[in-house]
Homo-oligomer: 340 residues x 4
């Protein structure tokens, strides 16, 4: 299956680490030593050691988005994002469910443009309209693209100018920062936003996302809010342990590299076959345009998700994961080659 990057339980190293801790007793709610150690490792990886930044572990991505955004906004404040943004399309209105409007811009290649942020901001002039307060982007984006350093810097600068907070959804941060298209270090990335999360679920963890809030004045009482939203895990240490494993010896980025490498392998193979692979995006999502009958077969045989139904042709999404193997990629390529 190349359906998505959350089809496997977790990386073996993660389970091994959990097993090693089986006999332990830890205090609850994320106040344990593993969560503390994991937080330190994450901050270190993103150049934020001793910066005052804080890390909070939640179970999943939609939760991380809705809980964090609703914490950082007053009821009448709104978040700006791409029309394709996960919070706008694929979270069943979780952000609105917590009371906030999502303001959208079409964006370009799944990426938000600084001038669009400013245009939307300037449309909202008084108390009869929501007050833009946050900007939401994801890296990699919904369509698998990645932000260049200059692009991110420009967005951050615009946010600063307008008094907006920049939140980055890092559900797929691993593949973004290890993509051949990426030109940022993790520290560069972290330097150019206010809050972000490091996605575990889609990169080797069983569950868990690590929210990083750089300015400690922003995260005051966040734990109250997390609990109020039903998002505080009793066994927080079990997520801490997983992130400890992921951020030991660079495992997190190694796993992402496998996702990217196998995707690159497939992309290359398919391009040789003349299959349209949507070009630029160099992370673990490939959007291929194929004849409808082949599309249907791929959905059935490899679990591909239909992205767009254009009648005679279908755009299908291939996603590789930390666990993808070159052999399976070859099988997929061959299958497509034989059925074109």
């Amino acid at each position: 299956m190349f359906r998505n990057d959350y089809s496997e339980i977790c990386a073996p190293e993660v389970l091994e680490k959990l097993k090693n801790c089986l006999g332990e007793q830890n205090i609850g709610y994320g106040l344990d030593v593993h969560s503390a150690a994991a937080a330190e490792k994450i901050l270190d990886a993103f150049g934020l050691s001793d910066s005052g930044a804080e890390v909070f572990f939640l179970a999943g991505g939609t939760q991380a988005n809705a809980v964090t955004l609703s914490f950082l906004m007053r009821p009448y404040e709104a978040v700006i994002c791409c029309g394709t943004g996960h919070i706008n399309v694929h979270e069943t209105g979780a952000v609105e469910g917590s009371g906030h409007k999502v303001l959208t811009s079409p964006g370009k290649d799944g990426k938000l443009l600084p001038e669009e942020i400013e245009r939307i901001y300037r449309l909202h002039t008084d108390e009869h309209m929501v007050k833009p307060k946050m900007v939401y982007i994801s890296d990699s984006t919904e369509t698998g693209t990645v932000y260049k350093k200059a692009e991110l810097e420009a967005i951050k600068k615009t946010c600063e100018k307008l008094g907006l907070l920049l939140f980055i959804d890092g559900a797929r941060l691993g593949v973004a920062l290890t993509s051949p298209e990426n030109d940022m270090t993790p520290a560069d990335f972290a330097a150019n936003c206010d809050v972000f999360y490091v996605g575990g679920t889609k990169n080797g963890a069983m569950y868990g996302e690590a929210i990083v809030v750089k300015d400690p004045s922003l995260s005051k009482e966040f734990r109250y809010h997390i609990k109020n939203r039903g998002a505080m895990l009793a066994k927080g240490f079990a997520v801490g342990i997983q992130f400890e494993a992921l951020f030991t010896d660079g495992l997190y980025f190694k796993l992402a590299e496998n996702s990217n490498a196998t995707a690159a392998f497939i992309r290359e193979g398919l391009e040789k076959l003349g299959v349209e692979t949507g070009g630029g995006a160099k992370t673990n999502q490939i959007f291929i345009s194929v004849p409808a009958p082949l599309g249907l077969k791929l959905e059935k045989e490899f679990g591909l998700e239909l992205w767009t139904d254009n009648g005679d042709t279908r755009v299908e999404r291939i996603v590789t994961s930390f666990a993808a193997k070159i052999g399976d990629c070859e099988t997929l390529i061959n299958y497509i080659g034989n059925n074109l």
Copy 2:
């Protein structure tokens, strides 16, 4: 440590089962075969096979309470519970955070009385007051007591008479149904409520609660609500796998029996020493009244949670878990004996 029943990662059998599934690929969001198999096993254990009842897996207890209650109520409807109820005291207002008032009654021994439900219901006569719609109880209760079959039947009957839905928080359902004080089969239990959840986190799972909604007309579109509240797990199968393990060969109840047995051992030992253990409750929580200096030592050495500070004396809570060992219980008893 005897701090609580969620200090250990999970039962070894649960981790083993996860490990056995490491190589698998499963579809996401709880639509996988493991979740389906676990649901069937749970329904079977509670005498609900082929009844139309449905099972939904969430990550934690506060989440299970708030997401389910807010799904089953209109905005102006309210839930009746004990003043000591978990939703009333220990969930940072999660139920109110989802818009609903919690109406309380003092209760008796942590248990809600049918006549109190009716009294509160009858106080709410028109649209200037909230409309009682649900009753929330937990089994075992916050103070470790269990409902007798006749008590639960009486509550259910009152609810039916008044048109109220009965929700049972089963975060500690295992120890309730295996307590020497319990006189219900799991099927008896399930027959006397509308919605309940089977707690995993406090009885051997790493995370996960299984919400059982008996009437399928009540659970229609519940998955939309779960996602809207940020509570849908991408890797739902990882919870399904855990519950598969827990409901194979009666593991769930065996683990609970260990909690109860070790608690009974401690209770007996302490009573021999003349320590007041709060009497009746026969599940895995023991509330002991000790001199303040000993209380402080126990908090430090065994992680006990202070329940009530009465100045010279302190009520401390001892909690045993699925992983508790008789040897450790002896250590605790001896320590107390030596420091009285």
Copy 3:
């Protein structure tokens, strides 16, 4: 001033009626005889007598929209409207504030198209997306246009096909139904929606909107919801009295006719001067495109609201009201003529 249609307290007949009732005592919360009489008059005017339809009086338009929509939707359900829709732009996120996503379509001339409703509906296929449940339109629209009977019937039919409820914001319903462009009777209008409100504030009342819910099964317990949202008026009878006055001897529609007639007078006068008046719309809003310096003067002298700033030219909005006088219209036309 031609700033808007809520600059004057109320129609003299409305205040007279209030004065006549000064000595009376009435029971509170809208359960009085005046509210009942007003409801009957309104239902009669819209061909809904003895239909089971119910009327609820609220204070204002944003409140009427948010309270009604949040009552008719479950938390994960959404409302479809034009991008220009009042709920989408000018209500500070009140609908999202009550938890619901607003799904938008560009629309045409401020009007929503049936095919767009269906397209948006079909995009929402599973529980990872909100569930479209309502359609919101306004008549007259934000840009002063009115729905033709055939257009409204087509929307209603689409809603019925898709199981959507059609809600019509009638803040400016008076000018819509008395517009020369209108081809519906009030009964035709009411026949083609599920819920609508008859705007008082913008058509002669001091405050008050009358929400009409046609199907009584939909309005069950609505009074609880109204109170829960802080929208139940203690002196509901004071709104009832106003609507009694408005729906006696056709006053409501006479007031709207004055708005339309004075707007038509201005439109004609300006077109003679060669001023662009935006064409088709034949209600009480006129959008004129004038040189920027003139625009600024008009904002200052006549309170016009700037609609679009195109640099050299500005689109300014002229709004007439129930109280507008031909003499003042002439003054405005002459002023513009002298300053072009």
Copy 4:
């Protein structure tokens, strides 16, 4: 009828003032000259001129409570009040509907005690419980009692010590401050709270409550919140005009004096007849204990509201208003005398 103090439209002076303004045009949303003038008069009456305090006009009491409290609290914060408090019992969960828990204390004579505030505050020690942030009291209280200056000062001092904001519901502030039991000037009153509202609806206005926020740093962006909650009145000036009338020549307090004087007349008359009138309370609410048959008659003939049904006897509530006349009071007293 002596059912309540909101049975009459408004004081004649208020309607007269509205009539005098009929021909005017005013800008919308409370930004008009009347609202500004009314705000100044109110601030002056409460000794807050030039203090930076701001006034916001809303339509009704439940709305004033819910909108203000939800503005001043973060989602996980809670408000402490008496169990009998209006927000706790008679607002259909509006405060919880905006996401906040109401923490209650039994109180004494409808009044909250400082030591109870502190006790409740100290029970809430960590993020598993809500965070107390506000204290809500009303003056006069639900049972018609009034706070003494020393009582209010003690509460304010406790709030300051604990970092809590004190909000006073002044729906019946007029009768409180003109009660023979009152020992505060309006300025004393205002000095001892953070936010309060001056009730119009129950003291001579047609609708409208004036919220006073003393610290301007607290009211920043409050207008956004008001609009977001659907509580901003398009014709804000119509409320401004009413409060201008009420705060000209002390009308507001004169109207309240009539309520108190007529209530005192009734109280005295009934006590002579040997009817129990509940003693101390000296505002416009009288709670009489009468034989059940007489109670039923009074409900029917004078619209009295049943407060408590004790079987053989019934506690009935008599409420006088700004419009009550001594002659009608005599009728009531005689009726009771003749039917005892």
